[in-house]
């Protein structure tokens, strides 16, 4: 009798192990879920009337990517819908400059590895020391590798109000600092213009300060859809003191010409000597 129980136990154990092991294997094969999402904060506590930064942190599985505000040819931009308590206001979602993916001639803009999509929150004066509140968000994304899998999550993060001056940066603060250097910035030392001729859109870049970096390689990420042809080559050249980047208009823009060029110009050598930022914010009329 004992022997039978023993064998049954061993069998059950084996069965449990086999089931668990199979589960493990299929999880590896599918690499599911390809994206982990959470809300993270730069600060440990919040002060009345002092803005604070919150971000959606996406961690992509190896080889998977999610998309920028303009995903390019196919794909889908990540969406964040904030759930805010009374008095808290969210600033616009800030997107670090993306990378370009090219598969079989199809061009996409997005992120690999880890990314933070940031938003600056406004805190009201009415917050009292010791109060606590939660910020929530519904995040939706599309993750692609060889296949695409849509994902979403309801996320929450808790804050306490502490009227302290120091010791408020949490472990994410350094990542926030780093990511902020990847947000498109204005460089007053550069004059930017754009004009259209036939199917071409030409971007003109003229340095007006001595501290301007020498440009070697520049790529334009269009923020709006139906403005440029993503898979057409971007031709970069220098004439005298002025740099030119030649883009091809999107076929969908053939009839109704776009009136503004908005997006990000990324220079591998940066824009200003001694500054790490590579992304220049572009928002100019197309003449």
């Amino acid at each position: 009798m004992n022997w039978v129980v023993g064998v049954t136990r061993v069998f059950l154990l084996w069965l449990a192990f086999a089931v668990a092991w199979q589960g493990e294997v299929s999880a590896t094969v599918d690499e599911y879920p390809p994206v982990e999402a959470e809300l993270v904060s730069e600060v440990l506590s919040v002060r009345p009337e002092e803005p604070f930064w919150v971000a959606l942190h996406l961690k992509m599985g190896k080889g998977w990517h999610t998309y920028w505000i303009n995903p390019g040819e196919g794909g889908l931009a990540t969406k964040v819908e904030w759930r805010l308590p009374d008095g808290i206001e969210a600033g616009p979602l800030q997107w670090p400059y993306p990378v370009k993916f090219e598969t079989a001639g199809i061009v996409n803009y997005g992120y690999e590895g880890e990314i933070l999509l940031l938003s600056e929150m406004k805190a009201p004066a009415s917050l009292k020391d010791g109060d606590s509140f939660k910020i929530g968000a519904r995040a939706e994304w599309l993750a692609c590798k060889k296949i695409c899998i849509p994902g979403n999550a309801e996320l929450k993060i808790k804050f306490v109000v502490r009227d302290l001056n120091s010791g408020r940066r949490n472990r994410w603060a350094e990542t926030f600092d780093k990511i902020r250097t990847e947000l498109p910035s204005d460089f007053p030392g550069w004059k930017v213009g754009a004009n259209a001729e036939g199917r071409k859109i030409r971007v003109l870049l003229e340095p007006s300060v001595r501290s301007a970096a020498r440009l070697k390689e520049v790529y334009f990420f269009a923020e709006d859809k139906a403005v440029i042809d993503y898979s057409a080559a971007q031709k970069f050249l220098k004439k005298g003191n002025v740099y030119y980047l030649s883009l091809v208009k999107a076929e969908a823009a053939a009839k109704k010409a776009p009136s503004r060029l908005r997006g990000v110009l990324v220079s591998q050598t940066g824009w200003e000597k001694g500054r790490p930022e590579k992304a220049l914010k572009v928002d100019v009329p197309i003449q």
Binding site: E73, A104, A254
Partner: protein, 202 residues
């Protein structure tokens, strides 16, 4: 003389490049003819359907954007409605062997049956030749060809780039707008839009 030949050579090269550039079918162009086998191994050429409106629907049944339009029965309804009006609807799959959405004929027959899809044919383009010739970038990506063989619409199926089934109802459908205008003898007002979806798995 030598100088002239260099000039002519450069001109030839230049024109050659121009040809490569315009190789992708654009709205207003004569739609490039092609011949592909369907899932029953029957060959279909675009020229077989001269004198009729033809819809080309790039598809990949495993793509979430395509799923949106099949799970909501939007695509099947469009195939049925316009098929009844005499339009030739060709679904085309350009997934390369080993890539997502590539299936053998027998599996395709089962899948089309399961979806209750009713295009005139589902054509297989595993080497991607026809997809590249048309500049098909996404699934879905829609092309409309008029009875004279001119490409009159190229782009998205509708104006809601998402994978949410509920968006189908509220979206403005560019394909029906283009077909209805063209069939009423009017010019297509939105002839080129930016497609959305999964990338074609060339």
């Amino acid at each position: 003389m030598k100088r002239y030949s260099v000039l002519i050579m450069s001109l030839v090269l230049f024109l050659g490049c121009g040809t490569v550039y315009s190789d992708v079918a654009a709205v207003g162009d004569q739609a490039p003819d092609f011949a592909l086998r369907d899932i029953f191994k029957k060959e279909h050429a675009l020229s077989d359907y001269g004198g009729k409106f033809v819809v080309l629907e790039w598809t990949n049944y495993d793509c979430p954007f395509v799923r949106k339009h099949y799970d909501s029965r939007n695509m099947q309804n469009l195939q049925q409605t316009y098929g009844d009006k005499g339009i030739i609807w060709l679904s085309i799959n350009s997934s390369a062997p080993g890539k997502q959405g590539h299936y053998g004929s027998e599996t395709w027959i089962e899948l089309v049956d399961q979806e209750k899809a009713s295009p005139a044919a589902v054509l297989l383009d595993p080497d991607g030749t026809v997809g590249r010739r048309y500049g098909a970038k996404t699934t879905p990506h829609i092309f409309v060809i008029n009875p004279e063989g001119i490409l009159i619409y190229k782009g998205a199926i509708d104006d809601k780039p998402s994978t949410n089934v509920t968006d189908v109802k509220t979206a403005k459908n560019y394909l029906t707008a283009a077909l209805d205008e063209a069939m009423a003898g009017q010019a297509v007002s939105n002839a080129a839009t930016e497609p959305y979806g999964c990338s074609v798995k060339y």
